[in-house]
């Protein structure tokens, strides 16, 4: 039997003391970790919940603002109509405005045209790159370009109006159009001469033939009465400003 710091140390006491030391160490580590882990779980769950709540709130707000914008728009139209009734010059201006709105995509338009629906290929286990059997932004852009070439006057993709500034771009498994995500099937509505639009798409060596090779599902429907909605966002030019008459380039080159 030895004595350390005035305490009697036997084998039993020493051994038990060592185990006590280890057990104490592990207990405090465990308590610390359990507290920390539960806190981590709680915070991550809370974060998701708050984010979801925020998202819903923002969506509601967005919806409300959109409704408001539409109301103002119809009010504005009423005022324009009233002004047009009063004078001939106002009438002319209103007519020009209507045309500009149609070409800018700021007015709902209707007329004859085609509805072109595209969906991913159903071919499975082809052994080749699976990406070839999915619809990509290039495929959609080819179709849109072909329709524009055939004289389409108004275009929408899954109900999103395509403007002069619109983009179609793959982001993950969806495509972004005007900043909104859209998933297949993609429905392209084009207003124009239905026969011309159809032949443009179906021509030999054209875009439909190319995509058929990969089994992309496509359906074309001609219709006499189609609607293309207006662009619901805000068009905001930050950099481009109209050139004033004095600075306008003469004859194309300077």
């Amino acid at each position: 039997m030895e004595k350390i710091l005035g305490l009697k140390i036997t084998v039993a006491r020493g051994a038990i003391a060592i185990i006590c030391l280890i057990v104490g160490l592990v207990i405090s580590l465990q308590i610390k970790s359990v507290v920390r882990n539960t806190q981590l779980d709680a915070t991550s769950a809370q974060r998701v919940e708050t984010l979801v709540a925020d998202l819903i709130k923002e969506k509601d707000k967005n919806q409300g603002l959109f409704q408001q914008a539409m109301e103002y728009k119809s009010q504005l139209e009423q005022y324009q109509d009233m002004a047009a009734e009063q004078s001939d010059s106002a009438k002319l201006l209103a007519e020009q405005l209507r045309k500009a709105e149609i070409s800018a995509g700021l007015a709902d338009v209707e007329g004859p045209g085609v509805v072109f629906t595209m969906n991913d290929s159903k071919i499975k286990d082809s052994g080749e790159n699976i990406n070839a059997y999915l619809i990509h932004d290039q495929d959609l852009l080819l179709v849109i370009n072909e329709l524009r070439n055939a004289g389409a006057e108004a275009l929408s993709l899954n109900g999103e109006r395509l403007l002069a500034t619109s983009y179609v771009r793959c982001v993950g498994s969806v495509v972004m159009v005007n900043g909104q995500p859209y998933a297949p099937p993609y429905v392209i509505t084009a207003i124009g001469d239905p026969t011309q639009l159809e032949t443009a798409l179906q021509m030999p060596g054209g875009v439909v033939k190319a995509l058929e090779f990969y089994g992309i599902e496509m359906a074309l429907k001609k219709s006499d009465h189609l609607q293309v909605p207006r662009y619901s966002g805000v068009i905001d030019f930050k950099y481009a400003v109209p050139v004033s008459a004095a600075d306008a380039p003469q004859g194309g080159s300077q």
Partner: protein, 125 residues
């Protein structure tokens, strides 16, 4: 006494150490803590009865800890919480050993009280 000091030092070291046990490992650590507590109580009882043997103490501690951790691991593999078996076994033994310690402590207290009374009786008479 020295055991309590060691326990406190251990707890302090655990708080001070910047190491954390991941939540995946905490069931094993919990079982290991129980194995350690079981050994501590068992060792106390044995030393009180003067039949403490270092070999039995050390092998008991390590074998029990390994068996319990193994049960926990196998339980995780087959989807049954087998570490509960280890917890129940260690818990039962903990309570048994604690009961023995309590009785021994009570007996000693009674002896002590009886002795002091006798002394007082002797002194007063």
């Amino acid at each position: 006494m020295i055991q309590v000091i060691a326990l406190l030092i251990g707890i302090a070291a655990g708080i001070w150490l910047p190491y954390n046990i991941s939540s995946a490992n905490s069931p094993y650590v919990a079982v290991a803590i129980l194995a350690g507590l079981d050994s501590i109580f068992g060792g106390f009882v044995a030393s009180m009865n003067h039949r403490f043997k270092l070999k039995i103490f050390v092998t008991g501690l390590f074998c029990n800890a390994v068996l319990a951790a193994g049960l926990a691991y196998i339980g995780k593999l087959i989807g049954v919480d087998l570490f509960l078996a280890a917890i129940v076994a260690f818990g039962t033994r903990l309570f048994q050993n604690f009961a023995i310690l309590r009785r021994m402590g009570l007996e000693k207290l009674e002896e002590f009280v009886a002795k002091t009374r006798k002394k007082e009786d002797v002194e007063t008479t």
